[in-house]
């Protein structure tokens, strides 16, 4: 299981725009490189990143090989209600990782 780091505020005021930062460990092998013997190194990247806030999708990204290793993605959302924000990364070779954070909205 890849290691993921999340930065989600634990508390927020209702209606506040909060910043969410995510980082996941992944080599993001482009598929454009060759080994020293000239053999192409197969592509192995994260292709999709989806964020659900209380089961409603708030953010979705399609990633390509041009995203640097250990994809770091920052975005914003409105703190609407207390609950769970769930993050899901999927990629080549059946890669899948999930992580979640709880938020209290006052």
């Amino acid at each position: 299981m890849a290691r993921a780091l999340l930065n989600v505020p634990a508390k927020a005021k209702r209606g506040e725009v909060i910043a969410i930062k995510t980082l996941i460990s992944h080599e993001m092998e482009t598929g454009f490189r060759h080994s020293t013997t000239g053999v192409p190194v197969p592509r192995n990247i994260i292709t999709s990143f989806v964020v659900n806030y209380n089961k409603e999708e708030i953010f979705r990204a399609v990633l390509f090989p041009a995203i640097a290793a250990n994809p770091f993605i920052t975005f914003y959302t409105v703190a609407t209600e207390s609950g769970t924000i769930a993050f899901e990364w999927t990629g080549d070779n059946g890669f899948s990782a999930t992580e979640s954070a709880t938020i209290t909205v006052e």
């Binding site: 725009v17 909060i18 482009t30 454009f32 490189r33 060759h34 080994s35 020293t36 000239g38 190194v41 806030y53 409603e56 999708e57 708030i58 953010f59 979705r60 990204a61 399609v62 990633l63 390509f64 090989p65 041009a66 995203i67 640097a68 290793a69 994809p71 770091f72 993605i73 920052t74 975005f75 914003y76 959302t77 409105v78 609407t80």
Partner: protein, 159 residues
């Protein structure tokens, strides 16, 4: 070759460094064709179809001079009130000379509150980067930045 005390001299290290750089350059010659400005236009057309893309509303923030192309911090901010009737639907980033023109496609909704995203990308060479935003009214806006790369994301495997 080596310094009189057995340690590597400054000259040796410089020689090794330039050999490494040359190896990286050699790899450039044999790898598959890169994305060209034309293939970037095709990739953009696939996203916007027949709509016209107007410059403005989008601010693509990327350092103009990058030393290491393997990780380049990039952020895109779009001017939008982000209300249920007027919001940013999607943000795309394209490159001109990377092996593939697409970098990332992001889908947002009015719940984002602020149409600003940031990530880190790879850049193989000095080139133009284009960010395109799709608004809820179906219009497309773009921003283009020219980035100078000192050392590109090396595509050669060095083991």
């Amino acid at each position: 070759m080596h310094g009189h005390d057995g340690r590597r001299s400054r000259r040796d290290i410089l020689k090794a460094a330039s050999a490494l750089a040359a190896g990286c350059g050699a790899g450039v010659l044999v790898r598959p064709a890169r994305a060209t400005p034309a293939s970037m236009q095709t990739a953009i057309r696939n996203v916007v179809s027949s709509a016209t893309v107007k410059p403005g509303k989008v601010a693509l923030d990327i350092p103009p001079l990058v030393e290491n192309g393997s990780t380049v911090a990039v952020s895109v901010a779009v001017e939008s009130p982000m209300t249920p009737t007027d919001y940013v639907k999607a943000i795309h980033i394209f490159t001109e000379k990377n092996p593939q023109p697409n970098v990332i496609s992001i889908h947002l909704g009015p719940r984002a509150g602020r149409a600003t995203v940031a990530t880190r990308m790879r850049l193989v060479d000095t080139q133009k980067i284009v960010a395109i935003a799709e608004l809820s009214d179906g219009s497309f806006w773009s921003d283009t930045v020219e980035v100078v790369i000192t050392l590109g994301a090396c595509l050669e495997e060095i083991i």
